[in-house]
């Protein structure tokens, strides 16, 4: 019982602490859904030169994304030389592995990739709260496991923070926006040493 009370207090204390911690000022919700325009065109082949640093190991390749239909993205990662490392499909909330190199076919790694990349491409998420922070308009979307905070500067999405237990777990940074394409994207994990850097390839 005592434990329950302590837990309950903890939940109460921790609730809203992300927005308090980062001094987000609550605003009325006027926008119904969150738009992420960076992977939203069906006519664009999105190709990014990528550098992945994981626990000090550095490797690179090309991240290739195509929107095939609403809520339907295909994503492949190849070496610069063209060899396919993985090939995933994201359809609605389903995730399918079309191909992955046997050496990388590890559940934990796949879960991380799935989580990161589905957040990267998702759009039209329902807004559950709105805030203001400096010049940013911040929109929050909640799911069962995590909360997502979208930071917009003017109308450009410049950051997504994926929050678990009121702490930022993964940060997505978008910069040099041109024609609805983020020329630079960084995915920075806070709890594991994984850093993904993407630079748009302008062919």
């Amino acid at each position: 019982m005592r434990f329950l009370i302590i837990s309950f207090c903890f939940v109460l204390v921790s609730c809203g602490s992300y927005s308090k911690k980062y001094e987000l000022q609550s605003e009325p919700v006027v926008t119904k859904s969150i738009e992420n325009k960076y992977f939203d065109s069906k006519v664009t082949d999105y190709v990014y030169k990528s550098n992945i640093t994981v626990y000090g190991n550095n490797f690179g390749g090309l991240l290739i994304v195509k929107k095939l239909a609403e809520n339907n993205h295909r994503m492949a990662f190849t070496t610069e030389f063209g060899n396919k490392i993985f090939d995933f499909s994201f359809v609605d909330d389903d995730f399918k592995i079309n191909f992955i190199l046997e050496d990388l076919n590890k559940k934990m790694l796949i879960n991380i990739l799935q989580e990161d990349f589905s957040t990267l491409i998702k759009s039209n998420l329902p807004v559950t709260a709105a805030f203001k922070k400096d010049n940013f308009n911040v929109l929050k979307s909640e799911s069962t496991k995590t909360d997502l905070y979208y930071y917009f500067l003017n109308s450009d999405l410049s950051k997504i923070e994926k929050v678990k237990h009121q702490k930022a777990k993964t940060i997505f940074l978008f910069s040099e926006i041109k024609n609805n394409i983020a020329q630079q994207i960084e995915i920075v994990h806070q709890s594991i040493k994984l850093h993904i850097k993407l630079n748009a390839l302008n062919q």
Binding site: D45, N51, G60, F81, G82, N83, K84, L101, D103
Partner: protein
């Protein structure tokens, strides 16, 4: 079926033997190669192939450098069975994602230059006459390699030079490399192969 596609006709055994001898002879006289290359990465779900360009250096017996210059700077050097990578200035010696496949392909290219890739133990090989010269299809027999490469297609010019290499994945997606502006047996300093 494939012998009917696009004026490609299966070679007779004699023709295949002649091609092998031509390539082998050509290779034995090739000490260095400098060539431009254009790479097309074809993924069925994309609207356009991803095009990258660069320069290949080869020096006998087994120094190879692939240097991509457009649209990014990236080079891979094969030397003394080691892979040296220069990724836009950041240098490393191992590439966990690609080393095995890259090594296999590189072996094949080095072998094709030397004229000894016609290895019936490793590959099921089929020979075709085509308009531009000859097409040889290599299907790896090693199930490990087969997992990511269904077939290598190499087009040889009438002189016996490698014109294009196509690596076809089990899904049908492929990588095609075209060689242009080839210069044989010029002097290449070993320093080219330093990372």
């Amino acid at each position: 079926m494939s012998s009917l596609v696009g004026a490609q006709q299966k070679m007779t055994n004699t023709e295949a033997e002649t091609l092998k001898a031509l390539v082998k002879n050509r290779a034995s006289k090739t000490k260095t190669i400098v060539s431009d290359f254009t790479q097309y990465k074809h993924l069925d779900f994309l609207s356009n192939d991803i095009v990258t360009q660069g320069k290949l250096h080869f020096k006998s017996p087994d120094f190879v450098k692939w240097a991509y210059v457009k649209p990014f700077q990236y080079s891979v050097i094969f030397k003394n069975k080691t892979l040296f990578i220069n990724n836009e200035g950041s240098k490393s010696e191992v590439d966990v994602g690609s080393s095995k496949m890259f090594t296999e392909l590189n072996n094949l290219i080095v072998k094709s230059v030397k004229g000894d890739m016609f290895d019936d133990v490793q590959f099921a090989i089929t020979y075709f006459n085509i308009e531009e010269g000859s097409l040889v299809q290599f299907e790896p027999k090693d199930p490990k390699l087969n997992e990511f490469i269904k077939s290598f297609h190499i087009v040889f010019s009438e002189k016996g030079d490698v014109e294009t290499i196509k690596m076809i994945e089990p899904s049908g997606d492929y990588t095609k490399i075209e060689f242009t502006n080839r210069v044989l047996n010029s002097t290449i300093s070993n320093a080219i192969f330093n990372n």
